[in-house]
Amino acid sequence: MSNKIEIHKLDLHYGKFQALKAVDMPIRERSITALIGPSGCGKSTLLRCLNRMNDLIAGVKVKGRVLLDGQDIYAPGVEVPELRKRVGMVFQRPNPFPLSVYDNVAYGLRVAGLRTRARTAEIVEKSLKGAWLWENLKDRLDSPALELPLDQQQRLCIARLLAVEPEVILMDEPCSALDPIATMKVEELMMELKKDYTIVIVTHNMQQAARVSEYSGYMLLGDMVEFGLTANIFTNPADPRTQDYITGRYG
């Protein structure tokens, strides 16, 4: 398997505060990579570097390289909206738009300029099926998305993403607002999605990382302390700091 993304010597400053310190990490294609570490260590920051969401925050400075299929996404001349169509994101709190279910999923298509009704309907159906929502929602496509239960809202956000056919899906603690059963459903969905997509997930939940991911990166205070196969990291970590965290002596 090849690397979909390669992060090289990535530094990030919020003003004077350095949140990422020379982070190196590969992200394998069609696999799930987990970012773990204690609160405030820079997991979300690193994740948001991968689709340049950090550009929205004033005073952020990024140094280093992030290669997507070998192309530096921070190179001058990169079209950020185009990048974000390839590298989509699911947020911690489900954030469907205050629109109908259908319009939420069709949103990305409208943004991309797809105008034909039939094609849109086709993709909406396919995307909802992809997020395991079609059976639940096919009769309620016109109902407001904000009235759905939280886990359906989160899966709707995933469906909304699938509609634009990204290559990479970034998930920042996608289950932290969900109950255990809903969490399981989303995890199963992730296992299904990784057949077609490259997934990076931030999680606070060790079990979750162990259950779903093939690779894990352990971060501490902006450093990537250890990166490798999840199985190795959890059973036989190379770094004592990772060991402390895994065994629960930290965080």
Partner: protein, 285 residues
């Protein structure tokens, strides 16, 4: 404070608030008392829908003035609403917060410019411009609509800014993360999410436009006739009252009060529409 004590201050404030409200109520009641009997006596249909206003002959049809008010107000909305909403969206979404901190108070200051000044600019600049470039007398529906459109901008902009700022950031992030540009995000997500507040701002602006008097008297020409084109002179309901109240007596005077009742009703309807839009927004959160 010592002199009155906490209790005393509270009573004083309550008294002031109460007297302010009762003053408003009294004014409304006074207008209704003076105007309503006339409407009933003259016949509401004849009063509202007849087209001849001729106090000397005892003819009091205000239809031309109603049409004029509607035209001028709609024209003002055509100018003010898109401009105001676009301006508010631009300021909230594309301008750094620091700049916004200076610009918004400035815009609110514009609301304090006396309407006679707007009227003055209309007479000196706009009306001659219309006369020379488009024809007609210059003092016209178009001039009135343009001036009013600008006058209501502060209302529309500042309320729209408030409602656009209240849109949760997660909507914007969700849209941008799907590859939308900032501009697409603004018109496809942010503005629709702020819809009810924006509608309220437009309705309140409309109330201001209908009620505005001085500036319209100066720029709309004041001819009592149903306008055939935007370049014709018109007299609005407010202008009619202001122009004739000084010398009106008897039935004529009552007819003017009755015109006031019509205005009062229109503005009350608009304000409750705005209130409904705002409450709908509050309920959604």
């Amino acid at each position: 404070m010592k002199l009155l004590g906490e209790r005393g201050v509270q009573r004083l404030l309550a008294g002031i608030a109460f007297s302010a409200i009762s003053a408003l109520l009294l004014i409304a009641l006074f207008i209704i008392k003076e105007g309503l009997p006339f409407i009933i006596g003259y016949g509401p249909a004849k009063f509202l829908l007849a087209s001849d206003w001729n106090p000397q002959l005892g003819r009091f049809g205000i239809w031309p003035m109603i049409v004029a008010s509607v035209w001028v107000t709609l024209g003002a909305m055509l100018v003010g609403a898109p401009l105001g909403v676009a301006c508010a969206a631009y300021l909230t979404e594309f301008v750094p917060r620091r700049v916004m901190g200076v610009v918004k108070p400035t815009i609110e200051l514009l609301a304090g410019i006396p309407s006679v000044v707007y009227g003055f600019i209309g007479v000196m600049v706009l009306a001659p411009l219309i006369r020379s470039s488009l024809g007609g007398p210059g003092l016209s529906v178009l001039a009135g609509a343009a001036i009013l459109g600008v006058m209501i901008l502060p209302t529309i902009i500042s309320i729209s800014i408030d409602s656009i700022q209240a849109v949760p950031n997660s909507y914007r992030e969700g849209s941008l993360a799907l590859g939308a540009t900032r501009w697409q995000t603004t018109y496809m997500v942010t503005i629709p999410a702020a819809k009810s507040g924006i509608i309220a701002s437009i309705i309140l602006g409309m109330g201001r436009a209908i009620g505005e008097t001085m500036a319209v008297i100066m720029v709309a020409g004041n001819a009592v006739k149903i306008p055939g084109s935007p370049l014709d002179s018109v007299r609005t309901l407010t202008a009619n009252i202001a122009l004739e109240m000084g010398y009106a007596t008897g039935r004529h005077r009552e007819a003017l009060f009755a015109t006031g009742v019509v205005l009062l009703v229109i503005i009350m309807i608009l304000n409750s529409l705005a209130g409904m839009a705002i409450r709908k927004r509050a309920a959604k959160r």
